[in-house]
């Protein structure tokens, strides 16, 4: 570990970008996101290869429900905005407002996951399971991987929330909230791709 200037706990002026230790974590997290992006790129490529392989089963146009995926998109984009507000309030040092926006973000995230679970159950009950065709395998895996990421993001934000209540705003918690925010915005970008490539291109056929 590199030389740490002073005791790490007492250094309060710098939040997430000041200390060497926190900077390293943020750079590391960016690199992790780059590798996660490659993961999603591979899932997208697989989906695009397999989307026409319906094997006589339901097609995209038959399944996708425009109001539902539009609502999902609206909720997730809004949560990304509220997450940004939470980080902004952290920088301003408003603890109460920070916790408020964090709670709103978590609730919106939960709503998103709820709608997606409902969507998956509806499809499955109609016989469109991931075992039905290669297209459906690709669809459930790509969208499901994103959903799993969102669920993990929710657990993470709750954990960061607990630490904020325990330790208040100081460099370590600030960095953790900042990284969780990066992750959340990243998932938003991936969702915009899913919205375009999976849902819009699907219903346009």
């Amino acid at each position: 570990m590199a030389e740490v200037t002073g005791s790490p706990i007492s250094n309060q002026q710098s939040f997430e970008h000041g200390m060497e230790e926190e900077e390293k974590h943020i750079l590391g997290f960016w690199i992790f996101l780059a590798s996660d992006l490659v993961l999603f790129a591979c899932l997208f490529a697989t989906y695009l290869v397999l989307r026409t392989h319906t094997d006589g089963g339901p097609t995209e146009a038959q399944l996708f429900d425009i109001p539902m995926f539009t609502l999902e998109t609206f909720i997730l984009l809004t949560s990304s905005f509220t997450c940004g507000l939470a980080v902004r309030e952290m920088r301003n040092g408003h603890f109460g407002r920070l916790m408020g926006w964090l709670a709103v973000t978590v609730l919106l995230g939960l709503a998103f996951v709820g709608i997606e679970v409902n969507e998956f159950i509806t499809y499955s009950l109609e016989g469109a399971t991931m075992q039905r065709s290669a297209f459906l395998s690709g669809f459930f895996t790509l969208v499901g991987t994103h959903g799993l990421h969102v669920s993990l993001g929710i657990v993470w934000m709750i954990s960061v929330g607990i630490q904020l209540i325990r330790d208040r705003i100081q460099p370590t918690t600030a960095r953790k909230l900042f990284n969780a925010g990066l992750y959340w915005h990243f998932l938003d970008v991936v969702w915009v791709m899913i919205f375009t490539v999976v849902y819009l291109m699907g219903v346009m056929k």
């Binding site: 570990m1 590199a2 030389e3 740490v4 790490p8 060497e20 900077e23 390293k24 974590h25 750079l27 590391g28 690199i31 992790f32 780059a34 590798s35 996660d36 490659v38 993961l39 591979c42 899932l43 490529a45 697989t46 290869v49 397999l50 392989h53 319906t54 094997d55 991931m130 075992q131 039905r132 065709s133 290669a134 297209f135 395998s137 690709g138 459930f140 895996t141 657990v155 993470w156 954990s159 960061v160 607990i162 630490q163 330790d167 953790k176």
Partner: protein, 646 residues
């Protein structure tokens, strides 16, 4: 599940039953020895819970050498089976399992951990850092590799090994063609260790970019560190493709999806693409750090600055980029058409250009240098002709029309063994010999090492040169026996002799290590080779905080310059020692690896309760770590003075 396993063992090959008994006895022996010498506490405190990058590196090294033994035994079993036409030493199924585990183990559980061993031990020392960027994550990476390898090796005695080749192509690897747990073992063990590899990649990129000593600009960085940076960038962009390929294959087998099946719209070629998007860059992941090792070794033992430093850096980066545009050369015969094949053909050949630049730079470094023929230098010299032949046959294979002839023949086997043994293995052995005194504080015996060198090298050519001829004579890979009328008997017999010579070479290395632990020349100076880079400025073995004072760097080959100018103090500021902050040991990485192992084992046998318990364990470990507050401690000035004086 238990009955299934007992049934499997009862009906298994006697070879497997014997191995199972041997494993049980070895385990009992280890447990008894640890108990008798009261070493459990020492093992737990000093090694299992450690976050020290040097100790983690040594653990990687030990595991890799053990796995090299297993992969080598696999190779000898195969070569014994092929020594004569119509042999009946192994049956077809057993042969399939052995060539699969040989390939998988050698690439993922030998080459990768050996590489991680060198990276872990050397990189922080070369750049003047006290540790890697994320010591805790580093320990997690190691334990994921460890438990991944353990899961993979269990397959041999518990339920059956994977048998679809180290590439595990569907539909051969699908449930329809390969029922039983074998391929599940493959998918899950590689997935677990793969996560660890991605984490290592992130860790070392941040370490190298953020933790260099003052004055060490990027263009003053030692070439080994540069090569590790190049390799880690490739890891970050290649391994996620492997994660996806394995996950989708696993879903096909465990959840009944249809990504790669022959029915319901699956497309096996999609797996082949995903696999090689990782698989080809993977060979550059293995070879790039080896180029770095050669650069250090050639420079040190020629007593000259490396020739063409900048072109070395540029060629490293070029190889890591071009490495992404070559993967289709593994399946020119897929039928992608002349446009696609031409692109990947030209890209594959283009890798030869920066590689050639490097080889000439090493030769020019040696030119008019004061060369010392030590073991690391010998392996480097052996590498050059070996890799030149491997590269030339590589260009042959990269020519798409020619590849239609060579595809899946023994020419391919001979070619990639030549590049991976002549490149990665020779290089990692050179690195091991070079940094051994730094790791353990003594040199390895040179005489025994030279015996190993000659046995291994002569054995290598005797083993693989006949295989080029066999490939051109029409022998395809993965055949477990052949009739005498083919005329392949003589060359196969010669090849088998070569394999055994290499085996003897390996035994000499084992003897060399054991002999040198007792009688090897002790390294009291910390600089046994008259080295050039910062790691040689430290005592051997290195104290756990590495540098009592972070050095200030004024140029390339910082330690060499300092020795030339006899300015002992110029490297270190004359200021007082300061307390050092170091991370605490932690048992969490071990438990996290264990939880992944439980989850993987459950999924191998479709036992979803066990898998769920394991996955919950993983999440609990992560939350525990997230909520942990004080993860470091301070070393006082008095303690540092005591350590430095001793």
């Amino acid at each position: 599940m238990f009955n299934q396993l007992v049934g499997y063992l009862r009906e298994a090959d006697p070879l497997i039953q014997m191995s199972a008994v041997a494993i049980v006895f070895t385990l009992i022996g280890i447990v008894a020895a640890l108990t008798y010498y009261r070493k459990w506490g020492w093992l737990w405190r000093e090694w299992i819970t450690t976050v020290d990058h040097k100790k983690i590196g040594i653990m990687y090294l030990i595991c890799a050498l053990l796995m090299l033994f297993r992969g080598g035994v696999d190779a000898l079993l195969m070569r014994t089976q092929l020594a004569f036409p119509g042999m009946n030493f192994l049956d077809a199924q057993h042969y399939n399992e052995i060539f699969t585990t040989h390939g998988t183990i050698m690439i993922l559980f030998v080459a990768m951990p050996l590489l991680f061993a060198m990276m872990n031990i050397v990189v922080p020392l070369q750049i003047g850092a006290r540790d890697v960027a994320f010591p805790f994550l580093n320990a997690v990476s190691f334990w994921l590799f460890f438990f991944g390898a353990l899961l993979f090796n269990l397959s041999f005695v518990l339920g059956g090994s994977p048998d679809a080749g180290w590439v595990s192509y569907p539909p051969l690897a699908e449930l329809s063609h390969s029922p039983g747990p074998g391929i599940n073992y493959y998918v899950l063990s590689l997935q677990i260790s793969g996560i660890g590899s991605i984490a290592t990649g992130i860790n070392f990129i941040v370490t190298i970019l953020k933790m260099r000593a003052p004055g060490m600009t990027l263009m003053r960085m030692p070439l080994f560190t540069w090569s590790v940076l190049a390799s880690c960038i490739v890891i970050i962009f290649a391994f996620p493709a492997f994660t996806v390929a394995l996950a989708l294959l696993g879903l096909d087998r465990i959840a009944g999806t249809h990504f790669f099946t022959m029915q319901h719209g699956g497309n096996p070629m999609m797996y082949v693409n995903l696999f090689w998007i990782w698989g080809h860059p993977e060979v550059y992941i293995a070879i790039l750090p080896v180029y770095g090792i050669f650069s250090e070794v050639v420079s040190t033992f020629s007593r000259k600055t490396i020739f063409g430093y900048k072109s070395m850096v540029i060629s490293l980066m070029l190889i890591s980029v071009i490495g992404y545009f070559v993967w289709v050369h593994h399946f020119f015969t897929m039928g992608a058409g002349p446009g696609v094949n031409s692109f990947f053909s030209v890209a594959s050949m283009a890798v030869g250009i920066p590689t050639g630049v490097k080889v000439f730079n090493w030769l020019f470094t040696m030119f008019r240098g004061r060369i010392r023929l030590t073991l690391p230098m010998l392996w480097t010299l052996a590498f050059i002709p070996c890799f030149a032949i491997g590269g030339a046959t590589g260009v042959m294979l990269a020519a798409a029309p020619g590849d239609y002839q060579f595809h899946n023949s023994y020419v391919v086997i001979a070619h990639f063994h030549q590049t991976l043994i002549g490149g990665a293995v020779f290089g990692l052995l050179a690195g091991m010999y070079y940094w051994w005194p730094k790791m353990f504080g003594f040199k390895l015996n040179e005489t025994l090492g030279k015996w190993a060198f000659w046995f291994f090298n002569i054995g290598f050519y005797v083993c693989f040169m006949p295989q080029y001829a066999l490939g051109l004579m029409g022998m395809t890979r993965r055949v477990y026996t052949y009739p005498a009328e083919t005329g392949w008997g003589t060359l196969n017999f010669v090849s088998t002799i070569g394999a055994y010579l290499m085996g003897i070479g390996f035994l000499f290395i084992v003897v060399q290590v054991l002999y040198s632990i007792r009688y090897g020349e002790r390294d009291t100076t910390g600089d046994p080779w008259d080295g050039r880079t910062l790691e040689w400025s430290l005592p051997s073995p290195v104290p756990h905080y590495n540098f009592a004072q972070i050095p200030t760097v004024h140029g390339r080959d910082a330690w060499w310059e300092m020795k030339q100018q006899r300015k002992e103090d110029s490297l270190f500021s004359t200021k007082e020692l300061k307390p050092i902050h170091m991370p605490n040991n932690s048992a969490l990485p071990f438990f996290m690896g264990l939880a992944f192992f439980v989850a993987g084992f459950g999924l191998v046998f479709n036992q979803f309760m066990i898998a769920t318990v394991g996955l919950i364990g993983v999440v609990v470990c992560m939350l525990w770590r997230s909520l942990e507050k004080d993860t470091g401690h301070w070393i006082s000035v008095d303690e540092i003075k005591q350590m430095e004086a001793s």
